[in-house]
Symmetry: C2
Subunit: 192 residues, 2 copies
Amino acid sequence: MARNADRRNSLMDAGIRVLAEAGARGLTHRAVDVAAGVPTGTTSNYFAGRDDLIAALVERIEERLTPDSDAVDSPPERPRDRHLVEEFVRDVARRLTGEPHVALALFELRLEATRRPTVAATLSEWRQRAFEADVRFHAAQGLPGGRTEIALLHHAIDGLMLDRLTIPLDTGVSTEEAVAALVDRILRTADV
Amino acid sequence: MARNADRRNSLMDAGIRVLAEAGARGLTHRAVDVAAGVPTGTTSNYFAGRDDLIAALVERIEERLTPDSDAVDSPPERPRDRHLVEEFVRDVARRLTGEPHVALALFELRLEATRRPTVAATLSEWRQRAFEADVRFHAAQGLPGGRTEIALLHHAIDGLMLDRLTIPLDTGVSTEEAVAALVDRILRTADV
């Protein structure tokens, strides 16, 4: 059982690499078999159709991009200000740039969603859930930023990551500086 | 000659649709022939290899996304403040959401750039040129926002467009409101 779960995860990680390296169109059961170095047919045994495979990949990407609970714990005496938000966002950006193929696979799927309603449904459900969780987290922790600010931040960091993971502009602004400036400016009016 | 230019443009517009609808991997000379409704081999006559085809598509996307000079003209008595920048950015956002397949084709190419150095070189050259032109335009017109603010704005609007053109989050913030808020917050500290 544990062995099956490991095998399943390693197939999904191979699928993430295929997505990032060959694009959504390159994602086939056979390509995942090859990338995972397993006998032909293995991926089909785990995920019958392409939609099953993609649903599993979305789940695995979510798992790999969700921060450990440690990363969002902070001492109670720490002020709940935008500097703390900046730390959280910097952690997200570090995770995305540290595993570029996971983030690139997700961008591929977002584009694939415009072509395949099942991909759109799966991804949309997760993205909305993650967004609502973020809004609730800010409210529960007393962090600055309501629904609007969190929406703006999600968009801005998405665009920054797309730039950094594909063909970065030479702007003279480092990723860390850009994260800090975006959090600071977007949250400034919402700060306590 | 003019006829050839028209034919060339209609092939490139078909190529843009193929990119948006089938992804970068779906972009073949044959697929462009089919999308353009021309005899097999026509696209190959105009663009010998895949790199030539992609370079032409980048050029055509640039042409279709560049604002008319009217759109960036404004009466000299109009204050050069962030409200004017907001109008320009709103115009860009309107053009991108109004021609979703052009914007989606560009996102496809940005991901393809991670896999193909020739695509990276072509796209990178254009994006950097457009960025520098934007920085110069702000300086020449006395508009708020230097290099840093323009970089942050590019990233933020990119992320917003990716959201709106793929699977939009339900944030309660309209595209127009998001553009206004991003321009306002990113430029506020830079305003005169």
